[in-house]
């Protein structure tokens, strides 16, 4: 792991890829070595990744941190190959160099007190929740509280993270759009049914969610109705990733716009309009 830039830096790193493997349909799990990020990162923060040396694709790509290990200095990501940028990232082989900026943004507030947390994730939105689960696992087991994770994918072939979430002490409710794994449906519904007591009645103290905007809007509604504080991780196209270009706007609950890269990607549900 070579450190780029001068001593001020600490955000620009030329890291070594340790592994980069296909774990589900079009979904990769990458591990890089970057002790500085591993040390500082908070769940919900992201890395801004350069995918090519040339001018196409031009911009970096934001990918959430899906895990970090202070001891061996590794950082993990789980990402879906969507277009050219992620395709190029997926081609990186172990031993190759990956240019990353980070950790960037404001992450999830990790509860200090004993709470019953619920994680709600759709598709690759599950990725940042894995790191969050990793961080919550200790407190959760120490306090004897229970956590639940509602995660959904379009089909069985895309499922990832179930075992990891279980190993962190979470009860996992899995849904798929086509019913090929878990329950047929979407995790937001499963979550609503749950707090409404339709199937397994359960109350939660805090909601953490990540997924597409309409998905988060449903989580927000359910959380508001259930009077549970909710933290939502948003996506928006990014250029700078650090708040300098004002490109990644999301409508604020008050006037004007928040920046996903700087004020988020995690927002308290009340801060923003979805």
């Amino acid at each position: 792991m070579e450190r780029k830039g001068d001593i001020l830096a600490g955000l620009l790193f030329s890291t070594k890829v340790i592994q980069n493997v296909l774990i589900a349909y079009d979904i990769y799990h990458m591990k890089i070595c970057c002790p500085e990020v591993a040390e500082k990162a908070a769940p919900g923060q992201f890395l801004h990744i350069r995918c090519s040396d040339g001018p196409t694709p031009l911009l970096r790509r934001p990918i959430s941190i899906a895990g970090a290990n202070e001891k061996d200095g590794t950082v993990e990501m789980v990402y879906r190959v969507l277009g050219e940028g992620t395709r190029l990232i997926s081609q990186k082989k172990a031993g190759e160099i990956l240019d990353v900026m980070g950790p960037l943004g404001r992450g999830f507030p990790v509860p200090l007190d004993a709470v019953d947390p619920v994680l709600i994730g759709g598709g690759v939105g599950v990725a940042p929740l894995l790191y969050l689960a990793q961080k919550i696992a200790g407190p959760l087991s120490r306090s004897g509280r229970s956590g639940a994770a509602f995660i959904g994918f379009s089909t069985a072939g895309e499922v990832f993270g179930v075992d990891f979430l279980k190993s962190c002490g979470f009860t996992v409710f899995l849904t798929t759009d086509d019913g090929t794994a878990g329950q047929k449906g979407v995790p937001t519904e499963a979550f609503e049914n749950c707090i409404k007591g339709h199937e397994v009645q359960k109350q939660f103290d805090i909601v953490y969610a990540c997924g597409p905007k309409p998905f988060l809007a449903k989580v927000k509604d359910a959380a508001v109705r259930g009077k549970i504080p909710a933290y939502l991780s948003l996506e928006e196209r990014m250029a700078c990733g650090v708040g300098a270009c004002l490109g990644c706007a999301v409508k604020s609950a008050g006037e004007g716009y928040k920046k996903v890269c700087r004020d988020g990607p995690v927002f308290e549900a009340g801060e923003i309009q979805l």
Binding site: K4, G5, D6, L8, A9, L11, L12, R50, P55, T56, P57, L58, L59, R60, M101, E236, R237, M238, A239, C240, G241, V242, G243, A244, C245, L246, G247, C248, A249, V250, K251, E255, G256, Y257, R262
Partner: protein, 343 residues
């Protein structure tokens, strides 16, 4: 792997190692230790990148465009990538001049680097007002008058597309301001030379160009424009050949210094602009990809100047002086074109 001429051994190198390199430039009365600035709107108010690298190494800092009153900017999406380019529709989101002075200026004024504030307005009167207000700030280096923003309802680009209005705005700012005035020109014109000449005659102390090129993108799934304002501003490597041409043209049209920008990503790009007539250059979009791009460009310019072939011509113009001066190569391609045997 692009074989770097600079790294090849060179017989004159020993001699040249003993030469001093002088990257200083003076533009519109602003002394800069090197000609590499950051472009307005791509560097916020300097705070973000100050956390990433030593921004004091820059030649100058240009702020995001400021208006008299705060602006919310345009709704998302504000960005769309294109081949080697970036479309943006930020729409001049900014805190307004008063909050700028209260919240950003105290930090900015401590920078040991010239700070230039980019200003924008809907009306000539607004430009005048903001210029007056900013002139009260002690230590501000210059105003960059943005008459070329493509992303707003009124004003902006319209001022920069007509020599008469361009003249009027710059004249008003010039009258109101006690600071040097740089006019930021729009590339979306038939003749950049007419606009450049107009702002020169209005008293501009320098011109900077180009602002973004008007472009658009269509969402083929939703069958409508990507941006709510339909058009957006194109920047990045894609526009470099256009920007370079306009810098060349502006250099021939006016006597005031030209600040070149548009797609500059490497020191090679910067050298092209300088040879075409830019006394200084600004890095915008490239900083999103590599925040340290401006620093790498500064280093590259220094190396370029000591490189053999350059030395010869630079030394020629510098006479007996052993200092190789960047300013000696500003616009050199014009001279070489006119004098050279081009075959």
């Amino acid at each position: 792997m692009n074989r770097d001429k600079l790294s090849e051994p060179c017989p004159k190198m020993e001699y040249i190692r003993n030469c001093a390199v002088d990257l200083c430039v003076e533009i519109a009365g602003i002394s800069m230790k090197n000609p590499v600035m950051v472009a307005s709107g791509t560097f916020g108010f300097g705070e973000e990148y100050a956390k990433i690298y030593d921004i004091n190494r820059l030649g100058a800092v240009v702020t995001k465009g400021i208006t008299l009153l705060p602006r919310h900017g345009n709704p998302p999406p504000r960005l769309c990538e294109t081949p080697a380019g970036l479309l943006n529709s930020v729409g001049l989101e900014n805190p307004g001049v008063e909050r700028f002075i209260r919240e950003e200026w105290p930090r900015l004024k401590k920078l040991p680097v010239p700070v230039i504030v980019n200003i924008d307005g809907d009306t000539v009167e607004e430009y005048r007002e903001i210029a007056k207000r900013l002139s009260e700030l002690n230590g501000l280096a210059a105003l960059e008058v943005n008459i070329s923003c493509p992303n707003v309802e009124k004003g902006g680009i319209a001022f920069g597309q007509d020599p008469g209005s361009a003249y009027e705005v710059v004249r008003a700012v010039k009258e109101a301001a006690t600071l040097p005035v740089i006019a930021k020109l729009s590339p979306n014109v038939t003749s950049i030379q007419k606009i450049a000449a107009a702002v020169e005659s209005a008293g501009a102390d320098a011109v900077s160009l180009i602002n973004t090129v008007l472009g658009m993108a269509v969402d083929i799934d939703r069958q409508r424009p990507v941006f709510k304002r339909i058009f957006a501003g194109l920047s990045g490597p894609a526009v470099k050949p256009i920007a370079l041409r306009m810098v060349w043209e502006a250099y021939e049209a006016v006597k005031i210094p030209v600040i070149g920008m548009g797609g500059i990503s490497t020191w090679r790009d910067a050298v092209e602009f300088i040879l075409a007539g830019a006394s200084a250059v600004a890095v915008g979009t490239a900083g999103f990809i590599d925040p340290e791009a401006p620093l790498k460009i500064i280093d590259g310019l220094e190396k370029y100047l000591v490189e053999c072939s350059i030395c010869e011509s630079a030394l020629k113009t510098s006479g007996e002086d052993k200092t190789i001066k960047l300013r000696d190569i500003v616009g050199l391609a014009h001279k070489n074109f006119t004098e050279g045997d081009f075959s």
